[in-house]
Amino acid sequence: MITITVNGQERHVEAEEDTPLLWALREDLGLTGTKFGCGAGLCGACTVHVDGEAMRACQIPLNMAQGRSITTIEGLTPAQGLHAVQAAWVAAQVPQCGYCQPGMIMAVAGLLKSNPRPDAAAIRAGVTNLCRCGTYPRIAAAIAQLSSG
């Protein structure tokens, strides 16, 4: 049994210790906002915050997450209303199919937390998630709005 802190709560997970955090979050804890896209750390659909830093949950074996503090999209969402990044996403009407967007939002929230005014290079380096619908122009607009205010 492995103990992790997820969205502020201590949780115990029975899964095998090489199970990626992604699957433990989804199947053991029912937190399905974190998506499976590639299983290889390439697409970012599973982006969560680990001790405050945006990371790809498909690449973190459960035993490496032991004792860490994990925030998922469910934890980022306030009890009332939306996180600033989510609100910007709605205002800019970013999502199409929406599948990549929780990961995208977690990546951007992580970036802005460490760098509230990222320049173009920092955005390019910090947001490498993939979107197949092609929502990038509106993602760029939403980030611009967030980092200008």
């Binding site: 899964a15 095998e16 090489d18 199970t19 990626p20 699957w23 989804r26 199947e27 053991d28 029912g30 937190l31 399905t32 906002g33 974190t34 998506k35 499976f36 896209g37 590639c38 299983g39 290889a40 390439l42 697409c43 659909a45 998922t72 999209i73 469910e74 969402t77 939306l82 989510q86 996403w89 709605v90 205002a91 009407q93 970013v94 999502p95 199409q96 199919c97 929406g98 599948y99 990549c100 967007q101 929780p102 939002i105 955005i123 390019r124 947001v127 490498t128 998630n129 993939l130 979107c131 197949r132 619908c133 092609g134 929502t135 990038y136 122009p137 509106r138 993602i139 760029a140």
Partner: protein, 723 residues
């Protein structure tokens, strides 16, 4: 939830015109119980309106558009309209298609009037109920924001309070619809309702279906869905810790376990021996030879000369002897040969489906574009009557045509039938999803044109070779006629003047193929719009002016082209190494003209700007339309730059996003979309952005002095760098 508006299906059919739309004014609550007749609208006592959207939402905004159509005419409180996901049901068929299927950009077109009529009919019944309650004439009644109002006496009641009485009234046979000038929701730019669940992670995609005691399945796949394989170590894998069952399914084996990770490791341990495969030995050389052989040995099939739902009938009858004679007699001839590769869909949500087989009934729940076809096929394969099969649709994490196919729910069904009483969710890994794609076929085209003395285009003859999607899927074509998904608009009918002849040589290959966003246009826009550009340049003419002259009878198309030319600054002077190119696509429901500006320096290609001018008639959700076009451009850009699935050893040689390159935020150039105001009837937008970008880029590269690109992807010759 109590049922309030209760119109029988028959009444609604009567009220709305038989065969138009079976609108059950019903109750999501009842629908959850079984596979009975569907329900589309329910008004509950507190006044909330529940709308079960009949089409699949895969990002194209169909839920928002259809909800607005109902609400616009119903005049309900938009903030209190809730939109739900559909299940397979004849009540939900797209009246324009006769089927419950979300494909071909046919949703808004098909439902536009029927759903408005349904909303208007419900509003009339609510008004009649109010008039009866108050004992006043119905012409003194009005509505506003979900309330029925008698202005003279100041009385008002919510729709919820009147719905039960309204439901007992006859459905009006004749309904008046709002004038477009009075639209409040159709055409407004407010955010879609589905954005909130999508930014919070609450939206349920197929892969998110969770049920108590559910088993999760991973696949060990054969090299081809119709291959025969044998597992050498079946007993050993069945004995692995946590493995509940290993089930032979179409295309391989499904390994079931309580957790996906357990199932995946066991599936990877399964050693498959291939007994037979339709693609045994197929590699890129075999594909190339098959295309060559098709031209040499396969009798050409002409393209059928009549209208399809989204294609115009082509001009002229394709008189072969006359076309060939005209080209032979022409002052000059232009010839070119083009190639495009197989393309993968790579939707972000990998294929998956959840199924329960219990008490002789099947329930399938997943991300499907074709729930009706899945239901029929599942019933047939399981040997069950249709009413014992329920098919429920979740949000789709991208479809792009892949989830139109019915191949992925079937293995999930086969796996579930091996463990009755337990839900089974089968999840394709990314590697499985790419390996088991139904690819956009590779095509080769040979085109020849004859040019007259003044540079005028006399005749074009284009021949295309490749696989037929209809053949792969066993779909009936028209005897002696080409598969329209291969040959349609290989030469654009909108260019009037020249004689035209299109022919298809079907290649003898069994690679799984299917519909890929924009279908025939995904290849034929590149062929048609590259070739017309080559012809114009060979005639010494400006490619824009040349197209413009050929569009004399097409003011709507010409207007879009003019707009794109103006946006890119077609006539502005340009430095050496800078090029501009344009291309267009069109069908009965839209015109999309695109132009790009690039710089080319040896192998370095930079895209400075992409512009699009788009006209799809009346827009229900203009912000959604804009996103479909910009997103469609990026979808097409990926294929143009990097698309291509190599084959070797009888299977696709792609595994994950390390070798299927998708653009990231850093790769996307500035894109401007102009939505052209248009009085035309509502059309379609989901596929229109994708086709023109490849030929526009190829034409711009030629303009920049980078040579003519006749083979995609561009990465064969160029490296993309940021402008």
């Amino acid at each position: 939830m109590s049922r309030i508006l209760n119109l029988s299906r028959r009444e609604m059919l009567h009220g709305l015109g038989a065969g138009v739309l079976a609108l059950g004014f019903g109750f999501p609550a009842r629908a959850q119980g079984g596979a009975g007749f569907g329900a589309m609208i329910a008004i509950v006592p507190d006044g909330a309106v529940h709308f079960t959207c009949p089409s699949s939402e895969m990002g194209q905004g169909t839920q928002e558009a259809l909800a607005r159509l109902i609400a616009e005419e119903l005049d309900c409180d938009w903030a209190r309209m809730e939109v739900g996901l559909p299940w397979a049901d004849r009540a939900f068929i797209n009246p324009g298609m006769g089927k419950q299927m979300t494909a071909n950009s046919a949703t808004t077109v098909g439902y536009f009037l029927p759903l408005r009529r349904a909303g208007a009919a419900a509003r009339m019944m609510l008004m009649a109920a109010g008039a009866a309650r108050w004992g006043v004439a119905v012409d003194q009644i009005s509505t506003q924001g979900g309330e029925v109002i008698h202005a003279a006496s100041g009385r008002r009641l919510t729709y919820g309070a009147l719905a039960e009485e309204a439901a007992r009234l006859p459905v009006p046979g004749d309904v008046a619809l709002k004038s477009p000038a009075d639209f409040r929701l159709i055409g407004c730019k407010s955010p879609r309702k589905d954005l909130l669940p999508k930014v919070t992670g609450r939206a349920e995609f197929g892969v998110d279906v969770m049920r108590p005691d559910m088993l999760v399945g991973a696949l060990a796949l054969a090299p081809h869905p119709r291959a025969k394989v044998e597992a050498a170590n079946l007993a050993q894998v069945k004995a692995m810790p946590g493995v509940v069952a290993v089930v032979p399914v179409d295309g391989g084996y499904a390994v079931l376990a309580p957790r996906f990770w357990t199932a995946k490791k066991a599936a990877e341990a399964l050693k498959l021996t291939v007994l037979s495969s339709p693609t045994a030995g197929v590699d890129d050389k075999v594909i190339d030879a098959a295309l060559t052989r098709a031209f040499a040995e396969k009798a050409p099939m002409p393209f059928p000369d009549f209208d399809f739902s989204t294609m115009r009938p082509r001009a002229g009858g394709g008189d072969k002897p006359a076309v060939l004679a005209a080209i032979a007699a022409a002052l000059r001839r232009v010839e070119a040969e083009y190639d495009v590769p197989y393309l993968a869909h790579a939707a972000m949500e990998p294929l998956n489906c959840s199924v329960l087989f219990a008490d002789g009934q099947l329930t399938l729940r997943g991300p499907m574009q074709s729930p009706e076809d899945v239901r029929a096929l599942a019933a047939k394969m399981a040997g069950l009557p249709l009413d014992k099969v329920r098919v429920e649709v979740t949000f789709l994490g991208g479809g792009f045509g892949r989830k139109w196919a019915t191949d992925f729910p079937i293995p999930a069904m086969q796996a579930a039938m091996a463990v009755p009483g337990r839900w089974v969710k089968l999840i394709w890994t990314r590697e499985n999803d790419l390996a088991m794609d139904q690819f956009r076929p590779a095509y080769r085209v040979k085109s020849v044109a004859g040019i007259g003395a003044d540079g005028a285009l006399v005749a074009i003859h284009s021949r295309i070779a490749g696989q037929s999607i209809n053949t792969y899927h066993g779909r009936r074509g028209f005897p002696g006629m080409a598969d329209p998904t291969a040959a349609g608009l290989l030469i654009y009918g909108c260019y009037s003047g020249p004689m035209k002849l299109m022919e298809f040589h079907e290649a003898d290959l069994a690679i799984p193929v299917g519909f890929w966003r924009s279908v025939t246009m995904s290849q034929n826009a590149f062929f048609a719009e590259s070739f017309i550009d080559e012809v114009a340049r060979a005639a010494g003419r400006d490619p824009y002016v040349y197209r413009r002259d050929l569009l004399a009878g097409e003011p709507r198309i010409a207007r879009a082209l003019d707009k794109a030319a103006a946006m890119i600054g077609w006539d502005r002077p340009k430095a050496k190494g800078v090029g501009r190119g344009m291309a267009l696509t069109y069908n009965e429901g839209h015109v999309c003209a695109q132009a790009v500006e690039v710089t080319v320096n040896e192998r370095k290609l930079a895209i400075r700007r992409i512009v699009a001018a788009f006209d799809c008639g009346v827009m229900v959700d203009p912000a959604g339309v804009e996103s479909q076009i910009s997103g469609g451009i990026i979808f097409g850009l990926q294929a143009a730059l990097w698309g291509g699935v190599p084959f070797g050893d009888g299977r696709p040689q792609i595994s994950n996003f390390n070798d299927v390159r998708l653009p990231g935020l850093a790769d996307v150039p500035p894109i401007e979309v102009a939505l052209i105001p248009s009085g035309a009837k509502p059309g379609n937008a989901g596929e229109a952005g994708t086709p023109p970008i490849a030929p526009a880029l190829a034409n711009a590269i030629a303009d920049a002095g980078g040579g003519r690109v006749r083979r995609l992807p561009l990465s064969l010759r160029f490296e993309l760098e940021n402008a």
